[in-house]
Amino acid sequence: MSFSTLTEDHYDALREIVNIAMGQASAGLAALFDTRVMLHVPDIALTEASSLATELAAVAPKEARQAAVRQAFFGGLNGEAIVLHARTGADLASSLLGYEGPCTEAAEREFYLDTSNMLTGAILGGLTKQLSIDIGYSPPTLLSLQTKAPALARECGQGWEYALRVSIVFRLESHQFECRVLIFLPENAGSALYDALERFLEEYA
């Protein structure tokens, strides 16, 4: 397992980097939405495909069914982000993105895709900038409009064993909107991450 080379120092550095990235992300988003943006303390952990169902169930928002969006990133670091949205507050929050008129299903889907893309890009952008890494993004796609943790885990738990997972909750208080961003770095990203963190530690330690 290639993440085994990461030491406590590496994890600490990663936590700090993620915190800074989140701060930058929330500042940018607050400027864009002109409203208070809350990004909660991130959780960084090694995760196993076999325990994905339990983990997802533990972090599911109060709503039983969620919309799930996925998006891949590649280049200096490769991985995939999954963003879980409670299916409430989309109507209210979509006015922030300039949608007008009644909320059709297509508009709701696009709203989840757009916000997921923004959040993932903001967080990963801040992260990779600090690590001096260049990455690109695939377009986001909707995994499901109504999914529960077990079904989602079944769909997402194939073909891998371990991954590093960064979990961030994002909330717009004024618009009753909440979602969770899960960034997964698969095993083959382990050495790229190690190298980047080593460089970071050398520069700032």
């Binding site: 864009l32 889907r109 696009e110 757009d114 893309n117 952008g125 986001p140």
Partner: protein, 356 residues
């Protein structure tokens, strides 16, 4: 590649606000390619490339856009995109462009949610069968000399072919479902197949004089269940209930979904008396234990009507009418009960076979 910026010191391609003084063919980029070569690539690529300033005025318009919009670059440069295409959702698009300037990320649209960004002719006027180009787009910032975002580039990909394939696939799947025998949710025969099977069994019963009975049942208060637990849970409850019912039947018995929450069981070689016994077994089995679905358990009861071919005669339609009367009587009688058609008297109420 989306997200990559041109290095500091390079103007965006095609910026035409000032006349350029660099001679032709001179290498001006770090790649060693000349400006003309890069511009040729941008013009040959199978994508629409549009550069917008922060106010959504057109700064660059590549050849793809010229050919598909029937507007030359010289006509559109410097003009607002909303003036050129008044049907564009202005609020949404301004927000989108602004978000890329502020967040410096890549933003996307997909034809699945938004069929097109700018209404352009598609390339299949004879065979397409669709009104205009379907598009996937991406938006990304292009930096100026100071390294700050100066323009947003909108890259437009023609997704019409994909959209057409997708539509054909959906049509084909719908036809397959129509022609299939089975109800997708429960796996029981669908209405179409039911009618064929019922006709065949009724004919067999008539030809050989063998007994043949049917049971029609539905779930009590199912609309309330849907309202309380949601339609998805309701579907799962239907599925679980039918599975439990199936467990009490023989291999030769045929089960069909007759309506939303109505189901019909065909019992060949079975008299009304025996069918009544089976109906009661089913009824008590469903009523005895709540149906589990996801993390809720829901108590369910069913109403059943029973009739046999010997008593009703006539064709399959008539059989269904009779069993429907029996079911109706069960409902009127208080639900969670079985009623035999033979027991229905015009003057007095039906004698239920059994009830809770």
């Amino acid at each position: 590649m989306p997200g990559a910026h041109l290095p500091a010191g390079e103007r965006g391609l095609g910026a035409v606000r000032r006349a350029r003084t660099v001679p032709r063919g001179v290498c001006v980029t770090r790649t060693g390619l000349s400006r003309e070569q890069l511009e040729a690539i941008v013009n040959q690529t199978g994508q629409g490339i549009v550069l917008l300033d922060r106010q959504c005025r057109v700064v660059y318009w590549n050849r793809f856009m010229e050919m598909r919009s029937a507007r030359r670059a010289s006509e559109v440069i410097g003009r607002s995109l909303f003036e050129l295409f008044p049907e564009l959702p202005e609020n949404w698009l301004r927000k989108k462009v602004e978000s890329v300037f502020v967040l410096r990320n890549v933003a996307f649209t997909s034809w699945l949610e938004r069929p097109y960004l700018i209404r352009l002719q598609h390339n299949r006027p004879i065979t397409g069968g669709v009104d205009c180009m379907r598009q996937d787009t991406s938006f990304f910032a292009v930096s100026g000399a100071d390294g700050e975002p100066e323009y947003v580039c909108v890259a437009i990909s023609d997704a019409t072919d994909t959209a057409l394939y997708d539509a054909r696939l959906r049509e084909a799947l719908a036809k397959v479902e129509e022609l299939s025998e089975r109800d997708a949710l429960t796996g029981w025969y669908n209405r179409r197949r039911l009618e064929e099977l019922l006709t065949a069994e009724a004919n067999r019963a008539q030809r050989y004089g063998t007994p043949f009975s049917i049971i029609l049942f539905d779930l009590d208060h199912f609309k309330d269940v849907n309202d309380t637990h949601g339609h998805l849970a309701g579907d799962e409850i239907l599925k679980e209930t039918t599975q439990r019912v199936r467990g009490h039947l023989r291999v030769c018995d045929m089960c069909a979904r007759y309506g939303g929450e109505e189901f019909l069981i065909m019992l060949p070689q079975t008299s009304e008396k025996d069918a009544a016994g089976i109906a009661e077994r089913i009824r008590t089995s469903v009523a005895s234990e709540p149906i589990a679905c996801d993390d809720v358990t829901v108590p369910i009861t069913i109403c059943l009507g029973v009739c046999d071919y010997a008593r009703t005669g006539g064709g399959p339609q008539h059989m269904i009418e009779c069993v429907d009367k029996a079911l109706y009587a069960a409902k009127r009688g208080g639900r969670n009960r079985t009623v035999l058609y033979s027991a229905l008297e015009p003057s007095s109420g039906p004698e239920p076979v059994g009830c809770a």
